[in-house]
Symmetry: C2
Subunit: 615 residues, 2 copies
């Protein structure tokens, strides 16, 4: 789920030399920090914001580069160790965060750099949360953070792509379940609760959600470059007006939203204070240093981002949209996986990229389809062990009948966002592959069937997905689940299931959407992942200790688990029952969509009926 | 597991009035903080250090009192809500930490107290870790922490008991597996690793462990009041010399340990600097502000306490001692539980306290017995729902045949410390009781059989013990496991299984001992808890992902799980198998100790054979 490519290293010698030349000029820095994110703290980027990829050659979705005068380091996590190892040239040292003894980039700055280091950074790209922590950690060393213009952009020069400004359109209330007016009213209440007067909304998906608008500035993410300010009396949207559809303009005017140019936000904040000097502006921890400075540092209250929290709880309409879009998506998956099986069994040559294209072809036929939600991961054998692999259309492997095939894919629909991983074997899987798949499946079922008390965070339940793998001495180096946006970013916070301590700050709540995706990766051999999207819902329980409602998960993804890869003898009676019930549900919900008389539907339905038979 | 009593409230009006009088004198404070711990950060206290119990009337093992001029608050956690509610008089407000919207005492100081508050505290009783966090949190409010002499001691006056100074004796290497000399050599290496020159050892169990000495100054804890300093060339033990046995003196002299009076530690540190001004002294986060000030604040490095970490990894000799002492303890438990069953079935009247006494009587007969490890929790019916209940010998309930009986007890042996909870029903349990017991048992088995990768903390696995309870809408408001000392404190850090974020800083490691004690408490009805002690050990696994050894748990506690309370239909085949294997092991290991021709052994063996039959 990234724009990663498993390619040869980029030669970065010239770029680094140019950057180091700039680092020697005023204000003269010993180190230069190049974060992954853009000025909105986005995970997925427009090409113009791919600065870390440009300077290092590493294209994964997470990773920070740090350039010193005599060395260059790329810090990333377990999902990307293999890919970064392939993409970085000799100029770079790969720092494998999460392994014992390996510092995070923050730790490196405060523990490994010499004291009194001058660390350059672009203040539009570092969040106030990270900045404050760093500043505190650097203080004992007397090292300082030095704001600069973006030196990488200067190196990039005229080759740097321009910022997209694609059409922005309204998403109707029949899909969102809540008007923008109501969302803004609720936001104003939250601002008041935090004893503030105004807020600046800085993340692109927050802005899109708040105004019920969508765009396409960032590949796979239906967002548009924008900021918003909300005060008790005024709402301002900073985006280029000429890109708004007439319907979008009409909706904004009806809600009395002022529109200002995107590039004017900093000047506008400086010239038009959001509140009096005695009042406060609430901002989320991911707000950039540049925006905070424009508001005035003494005026801000840094707290949880209220729009992020509100957005994470889906409306009933959105939840129903998730259900319906996943059923439709299930039909495309059945058409594709049955096609692929037929091809491989007939001896046809299908490359990983051909497979991804065929799946996109089937998805494009679905109602309300708006695009993919991330680049399809279509990977055969050893490529499946590269967690965020993406086949290069010009140079990728042929899918082998006698290898495990892992496919992680999803789409954007007006009524929901999908993200599904399934793992197949079209020949005869070996015992290691079957064992790993079954252990992953048990972990998946464990989360799917889990009941939790309120106030339970995703940190506390991550081990339930791993327990069965651990029993065999297996594990996976990624989280178990991420939040999922509603026709928005496929990765969305603040909730998640995993070992990140930050997840503990967000208890799971009814209406949240999450992926449930344990996996196992045998380097050089195969990868297994089983991913459904689940919605957190009130659960009925026999007792109610603490006089409170308990919560459970409802899966919305509808695609069979590969029978051939299941070792029934490892499953408990409850787990076996779960598989059979799930398969019956998939057939019941997706089968009616495969009633066409065409070859695709006939083949897909037969395949679905076979794969959904009781074990 | 506390010195708690379920008694009537103490009238605290006079004490509070006296304290408030002192708070009005110089240095004049608005609030006065009375922590639970003594100057060694002990959990269990000598009577002279029971300041929080004296001022508030609440005798539980955890809780902080905060006295303002017009109110008084007692902050404690879920284990003690019921007990504190019973023991506090009208002067006090109970603050139930852990419930939504209830602040911790630290949060109260920084969020609820007015700004510019002056908060009085005794610097010998607040740790440097807590102090620094508090000072930072109070800064924005301009509130300050004001060191004072101990005002509660002044109120207590001549009624305050004197500090114990009981005999101190060596524990032979055949029990510890490692000489004091070797422990000190290893400690010096750790000090060097942290770039420091010296350390001050402040926790009583750390000192006892480091010198292989034991005492009896604190009830149930075989420790003695002492501090120690270690520099590259010198080791000093601060304790009263006249209390050392000749063997202890000889051992200390052989190791060239200097002995100084206990009360001289602060003066001694001030007069004899531990290192030069350019060198550092390593101290743990629990070191008191008074000790830190005596060393010199600019000289200290606050980090993990190296002795606590070393002590947590038991030697092979200690692990074998744990096994053997638990088998012997199992014989006493079988004698007691079979006796109790016989008494109740014959219609005899046995009070909760009588039961505890009888169990102690059987334990006293065991080899190497040195005392109980905490006051026995012997509780019938609703009393079992008071998590740290302790029967008052002068006024406690008669154990009812038709109620659930919960018994949590343990002993100190020269070769190990035991801590076991079992739950019984000597009549006909109802379906709620059976269901709760079975769910608790499933959680217990889940931890017992768990395999984990290295670097896994107890925070991450806590949910595995709760999952089965959660499924029925049940839970428990305490941790799942605490560290256990070796003939030392029954509660020992730094490891533990539970939701406390601090547990995440300590990965579980081979050689650590932990309790495994999920429970369920139905207020006003019954309490269930099943507790074994487990040792973390290397596990054999089918694979070794990450090329590393995985870890598992070995249970050392040997006492049957009550068959009558198990609903077999809820157990998986693996769980059922576990129960039968565990029972076979208990019978195999404890049975040989019950071969006497006396009435006790004949009855106990017959009972053990019956309770250990395959389900």
């Amino acid at each position: 789920m990234s724009e990663a490519k498993a390619a040869n290293p980029t030669n970065t010698s010239k770029r680094l030399a140019d950057l180091r030349g700039l680092m020697k000029k005023e204000p003269k820095v010993d180190a230069y920090l190049i974060p992954s994110e853009d000025q909105h703290s986005s995970e997925y980027l427009a090409n113009c914001d791919e600065r870390r990829a440009f300077i290092s050659g590493f294209t994964g979705s997470a990773g920070t580069a740090l350039v010193l005068h005599d060395s260059a380091m790329l810090f990333t996590d377990g999902r990307y160790f293999l890919q970064a190892g392939q993409q970085l040239d000799h100029n770079w040292t790969l720092m494998k965060q999460g392994l014992p003894q390996v510092p995070t980039w923050q730790e490196y700055l405060s523990k490994n750099l010499p004291s009194k280091s001058r660390i350059g950074f672009d203040p539009t790209l570092i969040s106030i949360g990270d900045f404050e922590t760093l500043e505190k950690d650097l203080k004992p060393l007397e090292s300082t953070l030095i704001p600069t213009s973006n030196l990488v952009d200067t190196v990039w020069g005229s080759d740097r792509p321009s910022r997209p400004s694609n059409s922005v359109f309204p998403l109707e209330e029949k899909y969102t379940g809540k008007s923008s007016k109501d969302k803004i009213a609720a936001l104003r209440q939250e601002i008041e609760k935090k004893k503030a007067t105004a807020t600046v909304v800085t993340q692109l998906d927050e802005v899109a959600w708040l105004f019920n608008l969508r765009g396409s500035d960032i590949p796979f993410n239906p967002v548009f470059f924008a900021y918003a300010c909300v005060t008790p009396s005024k709402v301002t949207l900073f985006t280029n007006k000429d890109r708004l559809t007439p319907e979008a303009v009409q909706a904004l005017e009806a809600d009395q939203v002022s529109i200002e140019p995107y590039d004017s936000v900093v000047q506008h904040l400086q010239a038009n204070p959001l509140c009096s000097t005695s009042e406060k502006v609430l901002v989320g921890k991911k707000t950039s240093v540049a925006i905070v400075n424009a508001i005035g540092k003494d005026k801000i209250v840094v707290d949880r981002a209220p729009v992020t929290d509100a957005k994470s709880i889906k409306t009933d309409t959105e939840v129903e949209g998730f259900r319906q879009s996943h059923i439709r998506d299930g039909a495309a998956l059945a058409r594709y996986f049955s096609w692929l099986e037929m091809q491989l069994q007939s001896g046809a040559q299908v490359s990983e990229s051909d497979g991804a294209d065929k799946l996109e072809h089937y998805r494009k036929q679905l109602d309300l389809f708006m695009g993919l939600s991330f680049p399809t991961i279509s990977s055969t054998g050893p490529n499946g062990a590269i967690i965020h692999y993406q086949p290069d259309p010009t140079d990728c492997a042929i899918i082998k009948k006698d290898q495990v095939y892992l496919c992680d894919s999803g789409a954007q629909f007006k009524d929901g966002t999908t993200d599904t991983t399934r793992t197949w074997h079209f020949g005869e899987p070996n015992t290691d592959e079957i064992r790993a798949f079954t252990r992953v499946l048990q972990g998946h079922i464990s989360i799917d069937t889990l009941i939790i008390p309120p106030e339970t965070s995703g940190l506390l339940i991550d081990s339930l997905a791993r327990k069965f793998l651990w029993e065999d001495g297996m594990d996976y180096r990624h989280g178990t689940g991420h939040g999922v946006g509603h026709f928005l970013n496929v990765h969305e916070g603040p909730q998640g299931i995993g070992k990140r301590i930050a997840y503990n700050e967000t208890p799971l709540k009814a209406g949240m959407t999450l992926s449930n995706e344990p996996g196992y990766y045998a380097d050089g051999k195969f990868g297994i992942r089983i991913e459904n999207i689940v919605v957190v819902r009130k659960a009925e329980t026999r007792y109610r200790f603490g006089d409170q409602d308990y919560l459970g998960f409802e899966h919305v993804t509808m695609c069979p688990m590969h029978r051939k890869l299941i070792d029934k003898s490892l499953l408990s009676p409850q787990e076996l029952k779960w598989v059979n019930l799930y398969h019956a549900e998939v057939l019941h919900k997706v089968g009616p969509l495969l009633q066409g008389k065409n070859e695709d539907d006939i083949r897909a339905l037969a395949w679905l009926e076979r794969e959904c038979k009781p074990l």
